[in-house]
Amino acid sequence: MRALGIILAGGKNERLKDLTVNTALAAMPIAGSYRAIDFALSNMANSGINKVAVVTQYNSRPLVEHLSSSKWWDFGRKHGGLFVFTPYLTHDNSLWYRGTADAINQNMEYLKTSHEPYAIISSGDAVCKIDFNKVLAYHVEKRADITIVCKHVEGEDLHRYGVVQVDDDNRINEFEEKPIIPMGNLVSTGMYIIRRRLLIEMLEAIAKEERFDIVSDIIIRYRKQKKIYAYVHDEYWKSVASLPSYYNANLDFLDKDVRNYFFRQDPTIMSKVEDEPPAKFNVGSLVRNSLSSSGCIINGEVHNSMLFRKVFIGRNSIVKNSIILNGTYIGDNCYIENCIVDSKCNIPNGSVHKAEVGEIEIIVNREPFYL
């Protein structure tokens, strides 16, 4: 593969509310035993990219911990490998990353000392599967300056995305970030291919003007001057950057087709191996249309829900339409419906948490309790 990878996993995100108080969005657990960034990392590894930088600053500790060994994504190589770039102090810079472009610009050495002709930039918070070889072939064929991977999105939440307008040749002539009235339903997925030298050039140019953002200062600003093309990838793609989409992206895995697409059709998504024992279903457990993960111990009832690793469900408890994150303990006789319970929580015996249909209650309770 003639490209290096950059994963942008840095931004502060408040839309997941209490769930991302201590965690970077890219480190949020997805689908039982994965984290959001596993999808971007696996896509790059599976496309044959062997040099990837993860750029991060907000709540980066859990993310760095997850990336502590690169061997799970097969990045433990002599040439290339996995790099994690957090902001650092230098003789003449003491700033945090002021935007996506600035984040890359502050790590310019990575781009300048590489020899790969192309750079692939991806966000770290999307659940998707893509072969970047195809995108690169398209990029070369179109003689594009920048290629943006785009997808047609149905529904109301178009205002969350960058909406693009293309001509007959799929060249982008309009790009609106988070529009009030969207001009179409083709949106940017936050994955780009650009020639490495051009990226260096543009980053240096906008940095001189004190501009720091890839979308507004490169793509929107240069949309007429540079040839920016859309590569339409109408397969499963979901950004988990909002509470409903995080909830839905997880429960989408109850669909067999989605599971097969990500877990059984080659290439599959890889994640850090945690050595948890098999999931245990005790007497009285009744689990229907749900996913559980290794290390779970279940004594109660679970319906239409997802249990992450090491979740304990007590006797006579009922969990419905909910997501229970890693290491949470739910006591006996609890009732939980339409909730997301944060990781490592303790839910005392007899607790009742019930949100209305269509609403999602977030439960965070790390108070220890004793039996």
Binding site: A31, G32, S33, Y34, K71, F253, L254, K256, R259, F262, F263, M270, S271, V273, D275, P277, P278, A279, K280, F281, N282, V283, G284, S285, L286, V287, R288, N289, S290, L291, S292, S293, S294, G295, I297, M306, L307
Partner: protein, 425 residues
Amino acid sequence: MRKKEMVAMLLAGGQGSRLGILTSYVAKPAVAFGGKYRIIDFALSNCINSGIDTVGILTQYQPLQLNRHIGIGIPWDLDRNYGGATLLPPYISSESGDWYTGTANAIYQNMSFIDYYNPEYVIILGGDHIYKMDYEMMLNYHKQNNADVTISVYKVPLEEAHEFGILNTEDGRKIIEFEEKPANPKSDLASMGIYIFNWSTLKSALKIMEETHENSDFGKHILPYLLEKGANLIAYEFDGFWKDVGTLEAYWQANMELIDLVPEFNLYEPYWKIYTKNEIQPPQFLGPDSNVETCILGDGVEIEGQVYNSVIGSNVMIGKNTIIRDSIIMSSTIIKDNAVIERSIISEGCIIDENVVMGVGDNTINVEFPKIYWSGLTVIGERTYIPEGIKIGKNCSLYGNFTKEEFTDGILESGTNLLAKGGEL
């Protein structure tokens, strides 16, 4: 010169013939256990958890599965620059080229491997027990007692002692006599097959025994020789959970104990983790009509049917209306719709087609192998295909890619074996 304090030598070459068809194509240490593990994982995890990072693994019988599992030792953190996991199969040299003819002979043939690390002590382990043990505590005991050899022992019921290697001791510590399967046991301390030797003592004993015996063995030759020579042999009593899984019934029992409400052998303790090669990571899916009770499930399992009192390996698929009871299903096996499986062990990568009934009927002891298949368990070898609608009795063993015509009237009577004409799937 760099040195390691203690090197572990793990004997993983045995067949384990009492496990029947389970070990026909796989070495016993590589047999699946407890949903996602293989038997050897327990000894390997004990090593790394005890701080031993140099492990020689002696392989001989059907090593493919074992080699693939261990690789360079990554799952156990045994991928090291100096030390780590090393697979030691038999090899040819200019003077000779022999199979491993006995347990001690296997170590004898790999003396140069041990010498490379110049250790003070060598611990000899078997790869076929289920237990959690801190070898470092045993080593401390070895040092405290100025022992030449320390043998770990386990108290067994006196009426079962005739099945084990029994150690007779003075004051429960100093070993004075060693009896292999004695008719009238004088003690209830059984050897667990775990020995710590001073390397210098072991090295000279290995050389002498190699000259006098062709198939030198620890139990039969090395230990009696050292005892006779007056070496200081010490018994180290281990009182944790230790299970031999040498027979089908014991193997089945040990698996079933894991599904107890609070199992005696608890895999869920956060310290002393058991590590294994973990290729399959997706969560388990339980369908809208599934019923799962008193089970453990490996990763990536998809269940549409009903499963009770069973141990299910990774990536197993169980179809609609299928009922599974008291069984062990190993990884990547597919059981289609409307099947009934009772008290069976189904090996890795099998396909059981629709409407198959297994493990039912009268409890006739197996005619050909009465010592292996007698407890009612029906066993299916790896990558076997059972066609639609076949009925299989108890105490049966099957292996291969079957067609419907190979079963008379679609039935295999209790106590019989069947090998497919078509060979492997």
